[in-house]
């Protein structure tokens, strides 16, 4: 065990810091939450700067235009960019962290050539069309139909929680290509250009008053069969291969931000019992930071442990305890959201224990896959 970083990692950090110091002052201020066209431009401009500096596709293999950074370098990158208050991945999230890695693993050479360079340069924004009104935690029960018609599929159905749907160029969509097969076996993974006729997009207003989420209605939408990634009816497997490059670093930015907000809250007046709870939150985030380092250490050795399974559940619940503490410390100063980051964050983080596998689903997964407890009858 060794907490100190290697000289090579420290010089990676120093170069990155120098680049951030030089680049960030040139950025325009972040656009308002509701100004989606400006936010798209702001986020994709940042992606282009990352590309020009050699930091785009940090975790992608070099042969596909990425940097091929080690897990420890990824940790340092997210730590330093968040500390410097650089733009977060934003609208580039689905493309750089999900769709791009999926294409690298499962796409044809043509599909890779058509999309990977654009994703890296910030020229193509992706959205995700996985969940449906009746397929949330039980995602594999999705019902959006794709019927074959010559060289096309014809799509009919409804998607929900489509991140960045209203500003995206293209989406990764899960559709049912065989309604008679068992539910995990009849799904395919498609690339859907969002300007295709028959797509109707309605933004969802969330507890924050706005959001990156949309509902997407598909009525007789024609997609070339050539847009399918992976084999027909093999989409469930394709979906599950996508996150393997980014093992261990998914919550680095969230944790760095959480620690900054703890320092902010610590400056506010509070009674001793609330201070003790703040002390507990600091311990939680420090431990999650140590767990992240453990997961990165394992990833660097090519192994994986229970820590990778528990961090999502543990972080999201710790963050909500902290959010609740913020409201109690602020008391009536928490009654406005404008210019009140701790309160806005309390609202935003309500989603953390629901999105990407709810806490209850996480507990099922941990108890069955890590602890080996018997499956429930399903």
């Amino acid at each position: 065990m060794e907490l100190r970083y290697s000289d090579a990692d420290e010089s990676f950090r120093a170069e990155l810091r120098a680049w951030l110091d030089a680049s960030l002052p040139a950025l325009a201020p972040a656009p308002p939450r509701e100004a989606w066209d400006e936010r798209r431009k702001w986020d994709t401009d940042w992606q282009r700067r990352l590309f020009d500096a050699g930091y785009a596709g940090l975790h992608w293999p070099k042969e596909f235009g990425g940097r091929g950074a080690s897990p420890t370098e990824q940790l340092i990158f997210y730590e330093e960019t968040t500390r410097a208050r650089a733009p977060y991945v934003g609208v580039n999230f689905v493309g750089t962290l999900h769709a791009g890695p999926t294409l690298i693993e499962e796409g044809t050479d043509e599909q890779k050539a058509a999309h990977l360079p654009k994703i890296l340069r910030g020229d193509e924004v992706w959205c995700q069309g996985f969940s449906e009104p009746n397929a949330g935690s039980d995602l594999a029960s999705l019902r959006t139909r794709a019927e074959r018609d010559g060289d096309d599929y014809i799509l009919n159905g409804q998607k929900i929680w489509c991140s960045f749907g209203h500003i995206a160029d293209i989406g990764e969509f899960l559709v049912r290509t065989d309604p008679d097969a068992p539910k995990h076996k009849g799904i395919s993974w498609l690339m859907l250009p969002m300007d295709t006729p028959g797509i109707e997009i309605r933004p969802i207003k969330t507890v924050l008053g706005s959001s990156e989420f949309s509902e997407v209605f598909l009525t007789d939408v024609r997609v070339p069969v050539a847009n399918r990634v992976g084999a027909e009816n093999d989409g469930w497997r394709v979906t599950n291969v996508t996150l393997k490059y980014e093992r261990g670093t998914a919550f680095v930015s969230e944790l760095v931000d959480s620690m900054r907000l703890c320092e902010d809250l610590a400056r506010r007046p509070m009674e001793e019992p609330l201070a003790a709870e703040l002390g507990h939150c600091i311990a939680d985030f420090d431990a999650l930071w140590a767990l992240t380092k453990r997961n990165v250490s394992q990833s660097a050795r090519g192994t994986t442990g229970a820590g990778a399974m528990v961090i999502k559940l543990a972080y999201t619940e710790a963050r909500q305890r902290f959010g609740e503490l913020c409201l109690r410390v602020l008391a009536r100063n928490a009654l406005h959201v404008d210019d009140n980051e701790l309160v806005e964050e309390r609202l935003r983080t309500l989603a953390l224990t629901i999105a990407a596998g709810s806490s209850q689903i996480q507990r099922n997964i941990i108890s069955e896959r890590v602890l080996g407890l018997p499956r429930e009858p399903r």
């Binding site: 002390g279 420090d286 380092k293 559940l313 407890l373």
Partner: protein
């Protein structure tokens, strides 16, 4: 940066685990600490880890295994004393509760800004007839005789933080073993024609035990590694605060949860769970409670 065990640490962990499995089974845990067990632990090097060149990170790995075995005795204190003698460290505030007085070679008293050694035979103390933890005998003294100054480290505070880190290692081991005990029972116990571990109400309890353990393990290993790198990396006290807080909570919460998973059997003397839970309660009173460490974290952040 690497927070995984090195090959040497894996060998150290497996060696101490094998020794404990052979020498300290649960029947022996139930009979408690004695001179014979002390001798065996000295032979295994448990009380002289630092003198023998092991790092703090190595030491927390060893204490994790001691906790998994629920090994009885003044283990942390004797390791801090560090020359192979059995020791218990107490503060000089009456009443003084002394653990394992009968089996001590030396009693260490915190006085002023230093430590003093006191001859255990010179202490007048009443042993309790019913200690909370049956393997941790307790005696109560109202006054301690004068002692001779002794240095256990650069200063009292750094010794106490090292003790907190080793104790956290032990608490982590308690939490880890409690998770295993509960999960094994949940797989085997059948009700309503199914193993109770197939019910979400039970499996979610077990998942939470694992989560607490993994979080505590990360905190404890980081604290151990931080003690080794304390001159290069600031903030070692914060690391130890967090480790002791979270490992202490994990041990107690997992003890309570395991009792619940075992149902009526969890309330019996026969099942081992209560021995782990009672040890967890004892250790939360040593080297700063979880509550104390939470307050210290807050005070440092607000300073």
């Amino acid at each position: 940066m690497d927070l995984e065990l090195s090959d040497d640490q894996v060998a150290l962990r497996d060696g101490i685990a094998a020794m404990l499995a052979a020498r300290v089974p649960m029947e022996r845990v139930r009979t408690g600490f004695d001179r014979e067990l002390a001798r065996e632990l000295v032979d295994a090097g448990v009380f002289t880890l630092r003198r023998d060149g092991f790092s703090w990170a190595d030491a927390v790995v060893v204490f994790e295994q001691l906790g998994r075995a629920c090994a009885p005795g003044p283990l942390v204190d004797s390791s801090l004393f560090g020359d192979g003698r059995t020791a218990c460290i107490v503060s000089d505030d009456a009443p003084v509760w002394i653990e394992h007085l009968e089996a001590l070679d030396v009693l260490v008293v915190m006085r002023g800004d230093g430590f003093e050694t006191v001859e255990p035979g010179a202490v007048t103390a009443d042993p309790t007839s019913w200690p909370l933890d049956p393997a941790t005998p307790i005696a109560r003294a109202t006054e301690l005789p004068p002692g001779a100054p002794v240095a256990l480290g650069p200063d009292v505070r750094s010794v106490l933080f090292a003790g907190a880190a080793l104790t956290a290692g032990y608490q982590l081991g308690l939490a880890d073993r409690l998770t295993e005990l509960a999960v094994a029972y949940a797989k085997e116990r059948v009700q309503f024609d199914r193993p109770i571990g197939s019910f979400q109400a039970i499996k979610h309890l077990c998942a939470d035990m694992l989560v607490r353990t993994e979080i505590a393990r990360a905190a404890v290993y980081a604290a151990g590694a931080h003690l080794d790198a304390r001159d290069a990396l600031p903030g070692v006290e914060r690391s130890v605060n967090g480790a002791k807080l979270l490992a202490g909570e994990a041990a107690i919460a997992n003890g309570k949860t395991a009792t619940q998973v075992f149902g009526g059997m969890g309330y019996t003397w026969e099942v081992d769970v209560h021995l782990y839970l009672k040890r967890a309660w004892v250790l939360d009173t040593r080297f700063g409670s979880s509550d104390r460490h939470a307050l210290e974290l807050a005070q440092a952040a607000r300073a």
